[in-house]
């Protein structure tokens, strides 16, 4: 069992950014009974004006400061300029001015030993850690993050290790700004992963949910619309899944053909929020409003 949530302020951006981080913390904390192994969020929508936000994690048992120096050296070697650098323990966030080939930069970081890339994006970033939403807020200050939309996850690990790298959201290496949170299990994960690896894709984890992110990001990069990519996934992915995806274009959800995992949503003219349980939605909407439960094979998208 895991819990997922997503929120979008449809008119944010034009009228200033919305408190996405704070709302995700509230929603995930309301669902902490669905998974206490780890918590993670993507906040999207703050345009970094062609800068890249790079989020890195390194093993705390390791000399992570040396790993971080190696990351910065790699960025500089690829022609990037580090404009801002923040670190909290073994977590590093870089603001990089970079106009080169993103694949080349991502690959140079991927190949560094002892380093995992949590996300690279122009308008979104991933923060994930062990513990609950409130603990994540205490340590990483995610409650202050602003944006137009975001997705979040509380994890009860079933298919792969309990550690920070295997927590959600999963970023689709090396595609910028595509991240996924997933509740369920893919049964054709190994088969599909081998097919992707044969085509040259590389994965950062042994987690089935990472495959969904890469699957969607590849389709989007090939020119598919978000809705089409999500519909295709209903045929190609096997197993149980309800997942949410966040991109620079917006947010989407898809539910497997047997409707095995829960999702409810509430929508007004300004805000749409989705979660595994209504109890999470009620932490955002104080008033009772119409609640919708997407059914099997249902795909929904919201573009910003």
């Amino acid at each position: 069992m895991c819990g997922i949530s997503g929120i979008m302020h449809k008119h944010a951006g034009a009228s200033g950014l919305a408190p996405i981080g704070e709302e995700l913390v509230r929603m995930l904390d309301a669902m902490k009974h669905r998974g206490i192994d780890s918590t993670g969020i993507t906040v999207a929508g703050e345009d970094s004006k062609s800068d890249l936000i790079v989020r890195i994690w390194s093993d705390p048992e390791d000399d992570y400061r040396a790993r971080f120096r190696a990351v910065e050296e790699s960025v500089i070697a690829k022609g990037g300029v580090v404009k801002n650098r923040q670190s909290t323990d073994e977590f590093l966030r870089l603001n990089v001015n970079y106009e080169g080939d993103l694949n080349a930069l991502a690959a140079s970081l991927y190949e560094l030993p002892g380093v995992t890339i949590h996300s690279i994006g122009q308008n979104s970033e991933v923060v994930k850690d062990v513990g609950t939403g409130l603990e994540l807020d205490d340590k990483h200050g995610i409650g202050t993050m602003k944006g137009t939309h975001g997705i979040g996850h509380v994890r009860l690990a079933t298919e792969s290790r309990v550690d920070i790298t295997h927590s959600h959201p999963f970023w689709a290496y090396p595609f910028p700004d595509v991240t996924v949170v997933h509740n369920g299990q893919l049964t054709n994960y190994h088969k599909m992963k081998r097919q992707y690896e044969d085509r040259g894709h590389r994965f950062q984890t042994e987690n089935d949910s990472e495959l969904i992110a890469v699957y969607l990001a590849e389709k989007l990069a090939q020119g598919a619309g978000l809705e089409d990519a999500l519909f295709d996934s209903l045929d190609d992915l096997d197993g149980s899944f309800t997942y949410l995806v966040s991109t620079d274009q917006g947010m989407g959800s898809a539910k497997d053909p047997l409707a095995l995992k829960p999702l409810v949503l509430m929508e007004t003219d300004d805000v749409v929020a989705l979660a595994s349980e209504e109890v999470a939605l009620r932490s955002v909407f104080d008033e009772e409003i119409e609640r919708v439960e997407p059914q099997q094979n249902e795909v929904m998208t919201w573009l910003i």
């Binding site: 409707a259 209504e278 109890v279 009772e288 609640r291 059914q295």
Partner: protein
């Protein structure tokens, strides 16, 4: 009527308080439930309980006797395994509403999600709106009455029992078949609906098991028929 404001209470505290109050013979109203789970569980006597607001998973489950009204939505598995009693939900229910229902009446004022009445073993499940995918999956007894449309695979692998549908049927499930209900059966369905204030005379279709998957008499290789 005794009021319980649920906001600052744990689920265990709320349920214990409900049981104390109904034992004293009081009618109970729970306010501000905030869509939380496992409310009103295991109440085993005749009593009247109202919940003002939406509830989460497995609410009003394991009941034997109470008359429960929920003014709001419910999450997954509302009224699971009720033996007797009456549950009235004013808005939408999540998946698996009335799972393994054994008796009593469960009324959903809005729509129901997937697998409504899964493995029902008795009682009545009434849905005012539409019902989702796999309604009546592996049903064994009882009636499901749907005033709106029903989704795909209705009555999949059902053993016994009846599913009445007033609207469109998405598709029949494995080993389910459609029949025309008798006048008596229709009258009984209308009578049940009237007790929930629905007076429209819907012309229901009836879905039952085709019993083609019945292999109860088939023997294993090492078995011998003794009778």
């Amino acid at each position: 009527m005794a009021d319980i404001n649920a906001r600052d209470m744990t689920i265990r505290e709320i349920n214990s308080r409900v049981k104390e109050l109904v034992k004293e013979g009081q009618e109970v109203r729970i306010t501000d439930p905030q869509a939380r789970h496992n409310l009103v569980i295991g109440v085993l006597q005749d009593c009247k309980i109202t919940v003002d607001g939406s509830v989460g998973y497995l609410c009003a489950s394991l009941l034997d006797g109470p008359d429960v009204t929920i003014n709001g939505n419910a999450g997954w598995a509302l009224g699971e395994n009720m033996m007797s009693g009456r549950i009235t939900l004013t808005r939408n229910a999540g998946a698996s509403v009335g799972a393994t229902l054994r008796g009593g009446e469960l009324f959903v004022g809005g729509d129901a999600g997937a697998r409504a009445g899964i493995s029902m073993k008795g009682g009545d499940l009434i849905i005012r709106g539409n019902s989702g995918f796999l309604t009546g999956y592996m049903m064994q007894k009882g009636r499901i009455i749907i005033c709106g449309d029903v989704g795909d695979a209705v009555g999949d692998s059902m053993y016994e029992g009846e599913i009445y549908v007033a609207g469109n049927i998405g598709s029949l499930g494995s080993d389910a078949k459609e029949e025309t209900p008798s006048e008596d059966e229709l009258l009984r369905v209308w009578e049940t609906l009237e007790s929930f204030g629905i007076t429209e005379r819907f012309q229901f279709k009836k879905v039952v098991s085709a019993k083609k998957l019945y292999h109860f008499d088939a023997l294993e290789r090492f078995e011998k028929r003794v009778v």
